[in-house]
Symmetry: C2
């Protein structure tokens, strides 16, 4: 496998850009091919079978782009599809859930960890499973926050309505004596200041994207896949694909990423 080959990163839409951002920051030598499934977003209210089928199509597409490893930059797809995808494909694949679980275990002092995410991520119980594997004494208290994604997608990042929705969702967690809260959806770091203010100073917020980039770097070293070449310009390093019209995606990406997105290309993902 070519060390200069890109990393494939995918998400249901724009949320996974927070993961791509961490990879750009922490492993600036690596090329990235990002796919956002904007034609079928959101995943969080859909079933395991559907999300697994979507993930399979996307990985097939990313393989046509010659990627050397894949990051499932979506908590729902990581929760539902990672194990199946690892079995089906002969390429290293990591998700965001296991790294997120690890950092939560390292962070908590009192053994009480909160988790917010989509309906699918919470129902899957997968964070709980990974955390218990690392430390069976830790208790995980989950709360689905289905409206956070549409609010973030609408760009309502500092907004009284988002505050009230957050107040309502998080009130469930406030009297549970947690000292750590996993932001178990890649959209949520974009409203972390709102979440942090409501939860207070004593609760540490965990962003799985950060740890995922570290895990990816370790994986690339371990598998001798780390790119040692010089860094090119962003337009050569990063390619972006979407399954639906690119304009909204590009606006959002421009507001999140440290680099300009020059070209975003639309593909028909159902063909893969």
């Amino acid at each position: 496998m070519d060390r200069k080959a890109p990393i494939g990163v995918f998400d249901s839409g724009v949320g996974g850009l927070t993961v791509a951002r961490e990879i750009m920051r922490q492993i600036p030598n690596e090329r990235i091919v990002y796919f956002g499934d904007t034609a079928r977003v959101p995943y969080g209210s859909k079933s395991k079978d559907t999300v697994t089928m979507y993930s399979r199509q996307i990985i097939r597409f990313l393989k046509t782009e010659g990627v050397k490893a894949i990051v499932i930059a979506c908590n729902t797809a990581s929760a539902y599809a990672l194990d199946t995808m690892v079995k089906e494909f002969d390429i290293p694949i990591i998700g965001v859930v296991k790294p997120g679980a690890k950092v939560a275990v390292d962070t908590t002092k009192n053994g009480r960890v909160g988790l917010i995410g989509t309906d699918a991520t919470i129902q899957s119980g997968v964070y709980d499973k990974y955390i218990k594997e690392l430390n069976s004494d830790i208790e995980v208290i989950g709360k689905a926050c289905p409206l956070f994604c549409p609010l973030v997608e609408e760009g309502m990042l500092n907004d009284t309505i988002t505050n009230q929705v957050a107040e309502r969702y998080l009130s469930y967690l406030k009297d549970k004596d947690i000292d750590t809260l996993i932001m178990g959806c890649t959209h949520y770091p974009l409203i972390s200041s709102t979440i942090g203010e409501i939860m207070g100073d004593k609760v540490n917020l965990v962003n799985p994207a950060f740890e995922t980039a570290i895990e990816l770097r370790k994986l690339l070293f371990r598998e001798n896949l780390y790119n040692q070449s010089d860094v090119d310009s962003p337009s050569l390093m990063y390619r972006f694909y979407v399954s639906d019209a690119a304009e909204k995606f590009r606006r959002f990406a421009d507001s999140i990423l440290p680099v300009d997105i020059s070209v975003t290309k639309q593909i028909n993902i159902e063909q893969y």
Copy 2:
């Protein structure tokens, strides 16, 4: 064509059930095959090409069910795909936009009509086009309300947060001197009391679903497709299909429809 054949009705998800409900009330003799594209909901933030492709797949599927006519019970799909679908298929197809435009024209006295809908429906300008064809003096003032769909899908029908979101969206329309407001998304009739309270008594709310059922009845008579047989039990009259897990859909349908939904079947819509 068999007069006893069912009517095909489709929507991106549950919203179109408000149209199915009107058909059940107004034309109780007709069988219905309903398809909700719950794997790819929502349509309102997606492009014309994508929504057209989805509509084409769904109509191909509905034809395999032997339908005699099709109702596009989704404003976004009606706005983007109706004209193309009418050209492509040899079966009567109607949407919800033209009937909604007609009743708005009949309703307004001062010639100032408000329109709320998804981003896609508002941007398409299709309500404006149909209304101007009927009466070029009428002015249409549109406002996209993208959060209404997720709020309705979350079941937050009588909720202070939904009220505030509605207050914010509708404040744009309150000083525009409209006397008629088209609920240009099939989800919105489910929060019509909230919308009505904010807009006040002087604004008439138009629900295109009602007029669509009337249009359908006229069409069936005109084409000699009206079913004159006796009514069977609901389980024989109505079939429901979805593209993603049926449980949530069934719960929602049970709360909207006047009949029990006994069986909801999941199909792989991408194969059509």
